[in-house]
């Protein structure tokens, strides 16, 4: 290329700059081709290393996998999946700080990404950082997922709940469960059953029972739903309902010892319940006396154990028992006050006996359950 001399240069800078621009454009074109080839080659090397890393990971060679993922990332620095895989491999290998550095880097690039937030949530969960875990899991639940969004969100929701339960964060777990239950798809009985089981696990038996019932409307023979419903009904003191669910469950699985045992307890509770509305007054009084006899036996055993120990509550209980025994001998149907006082005393005896005299027998347990149901209903 021929360039003008200094004089022309000063006279015709436009021509000079046009020529320089032309050379620059040609340079750009040439370098563009070179860089395209370079980037293609780099990406190919990165793909190969990434594939090798995945193989290493499958074979349990985590250190090699990390090395490969890292090398892959050095050849394709913007690749989201390489960086995410590297971060996950580091996390799974217990190298939390490194994993966090990469994940935070990814998060800064794509703060709404579901994968990244879920990975960060899991990392925070492994580090027992509750607030951070909740934050990242929530980001994952409400974040963007390129595919299979619904399932991934559910996974994040259940992982968060499981983490909170493990951490003993009961109230936060309950809040998450209520939110999950409100958005359940109506036709997914498996998911509904799972959520109902979790609700039961955190003690929200009324919500759990409602959900189990919903499942049973869709699928009458769902054994997990029957078991769950029976358990929740039992916990709520709805023994008649619990008995019905248990019988249906045992019809499906007659050898389930746990259910059978629970059914026996429930049957006993129902048989001993003096408040059963279907009973006549005579029947109610008879049941009260039977319950009093059970409590009396428990009391006598406990008194024998505690003989010689001064100032125990048993002394007062014994005095009350003596007094009540006399009243019960001529109890009439009009004396509801004595009826309730007798039941209160039975409850006190059983409660103290449970603390001081070892585990209750089946009948004593039935009385305790009846008392719990009665006080629960009164509350």
């Amino acid at each position: 290329m021929s360039f003008p001399d200094a004089a022309e240069l000063r006279n015709r800078p436009g021509v000079i700059f046009a020529a320089l621009t032309l050379v620059a454009v040609l340079g750009f074109a040439g370098v563009t081709r070179l860089t395209k080839r370079y980037h293609d080659q780099q990406k190919a090397v990165a793909r190969r290393l990434y594939a090798r890393g995945l193989d290493d990971q499958k074979e349990g060679q985590f250190d090699n996998a990390i090395s490969d993922f890292r090398a892959a990332l050095s050849y394709d620095r913007d690749n989201f999946y390489y960086e995410l895989s590297l971060a996950r491999a580091l996390r799974d290998n217990g190298r939390m700080n490194e994993a966090e550095a990469y994940l935070v880097n990814l998060w800064e690039r794509t703060p709404q990404d579901g994968f990244v937030n879920l990975a960060l949530g899991r990392l925070a969960a492994r580090q027992s950082k509750i607030d951070k875990a909740i934050q990242y899991y929530h980001n994952a639940i409400y974040g963007v997922w390129p595919s299979n969004a619904e399932n991934n969100r559910r996974t994040a929701e259940f992982e968060l709940i499981a983490f909170l339960l493990r951490q003993g964060a009961q109230s936060q777990a309950e809040a998450e469960l209520i939110a999950v239950a409100a958005t359940l798809p109506p036709d997914d009985v498996i998911l509904q059953t799972h959520v109902a089981q979790l609700l039961a696990q955190v003690g929200m038996h009324d919500r759990a029972l409602a959900l189990f019932k919903k499942v049973l409307q869709e699928d009458r023979s769902s054994k997990p739903a029957l078991d769950g419903a029976a358990n929740s009904a039992f916990e709520l003191g709805h023994y008649r309902s619990a008995e019905g669910y248990l019988r249906r469950s045992l019809a499906l699985d007659p050898h389930n010892e746990q259910n059978r045992d629970l059914l026996e307890t429930i049957t006993l509770v129902l048989e001993m319940d003096p408040y059963d509305r279907r009973l006549s007054t005579v029947g109610r009084i008879r049941r009260l006396r039977a319950a009093f006899d059970v409590a009396s036996k428990r009391l006598s055993v406990c008194l024998a154990d505690k003989q010689g120990v001064p100032d125990t509550p048993w002394t007062a209980l014994q005095a009350n028992w003596m007094q009540m025994k006399g009243k019960l001998s001529h109890l009439t149907d009009a004396d509801a006050e004595t009826f309730d006082a007798a039941m209160d005393l039975i409850n006190q005896i059983e409660q103290h006996a449970q603390l001081d005299c070892g585990p209750p027998a089946r009948t004593d347990r039935a009385l305790l359950l009846l008392s719990a149901t009665r006080f629960g209903a009164e509350r």
Partner: protein
Amino acid sequence: MSNRSPISIALTAESPTETQELTKSISREERFFLVLAVFIGVFAGLGVVCFRLFIEWNRIGFLGSLPQAGDWRLLVAPTAIGILVALLVMYAFPQVRGSGVNQTKAALYIYNGYIPFRTAMGKFITAALAIGSGQSLGPEDPSLQIGASLASALGRRFHLSRERLRLLAPVGAAAGLAAAFNAPISAVLFVIEEVIGRWSAGILGSVVLSAISSVVVVRWFLGSEPLFRIPAVGLVRPSELIAYAVLGIVGGLAATFFAKAIGYFRPRLRSWPQWTQYIQIPLAGFLIGMIGFLGAPQVMGAGYEYMDQAMHDQFPWKMLAFLAILKIVATALSFVCGTPGGMFAPTLFVGAMLGGAIGGIERIFYPNLTGSTATYALVGMGVLFAGFLRAPMTSVFMVLEVSGNYSIIVPVIVANTFAYVISRNLQPTPIFDLLTRQDGLDLPSMEEQREERILRVEDAMQTPAAPILDSEETVKRANNRIQGSDGDLFLVRLHPSGWTSLNRDLLKRLIGEGKSEDTLASALPTERLPYLHPDLPLEMALRYIYQSPLVPVISRADFRKLEGVISREAVLGKYRVAEIDSESDGRFELS
């Protein structure tokens, strides 16, 4: 229009028309120079992109995509390619040895900005081969020289004036370095600190323009990602500055050792018989390859990816310390043999590893330290930069630029200051100046400029012995006032401001002419004296002391207030004293 250059016009301009022509011509050439700086940046950027691609292709081709210890290629490649590089350096491109910073500086100060284009080509090929094959050197300094060489070639093509051609070298150098490091501010500062060696606002605009345009080109092709992916860094507790100060001290010692090793071995290897030149580079390659083969492939090449990994806690502190030591050895081996390649990347590598290691050790003793490995590694980079390359301004801005986090500035400044002071005391001559002097040259250094003693007007200023006259005084009264004094020349304060002088003979003549009752203002000629302020450099006084034997030194706050006077004898006397002092103390230069 005339073909004369602005300078020739300036020398001969006599009429207003010619003066206007001169002004226009200068302005046009300045604009041309600024636009040319942009093009230099673009071309340097393109060149550096190609250079980086070439290095990377070489690296994958010679060492494989994932160099690992035990791979025989780590031994063979640097040795075999070393032979080729040695032959190229000896027979084809003898000017491409070493980093390129000194050669660029020499071009600026000795060869009027002339850098043969052949040098750029040679540097491109040999440095890419050397670095790609695993020699422990970096691409930044060669990029700087390639940029300067491109700029010089362009300037020569356009037959620019010698003055402009000289200025083009740093413009191209800044562009090349900025492109290689993807950090324009650091590049500009480095060129000012190390290449130009003086703070000169004259070409700052061109240097900045070229640096920015080259970075834009590099980011266009290679992306705008910074060199390192920096995790969150910062300073939580000010008390932790002590930990960074310790890093600065250790870094200063390491930098001194690094510089002394190079300074000691380089001239000795160069003095070996000529035939050893054939084997020095391959032998260095073999030894570095051996280090890689036996377990530390991280020290081979520039090593940016390993710095990145160090910042992400990939290496335990023992490994970091080990890598820092090995890198110093490997880089010294490569460099003292004259292998073409730069010191920038190895310095950063050593700094990052050393910083990470010191941080790791400190955390063992003080587990509550909150600084992450990345923070220590980053500060370590700055520390080595300040201690080894002795570019303190660049070292601070470089860390800020690569981290993008200004909260780290205080630890960086603290650590860098310690490193710089220690290195300055233990190794008085900066590494680039040392290399220059080993090559038999003496080029200006910013460090010397920073530390040189500057004489100011106040140093030579004297209290006036004779009375100061006022222009409102009568001639008679003035004559009476000077009767008791010995001097012959007297300063006269004019109204409302300004100064002039008169001598005894003039006063006598005025009285003889019957002007005794006239004021001095009406009787004296209107010519005013030049004046100085106390803080001005003494060399300013040199311009005036031959116009007037007595120059008033006045206050900047009140131009009528006389602080003192400067005389020819006092100025020359001060310079004579300073010269004697400099002979006993060391170096002395005019500011």
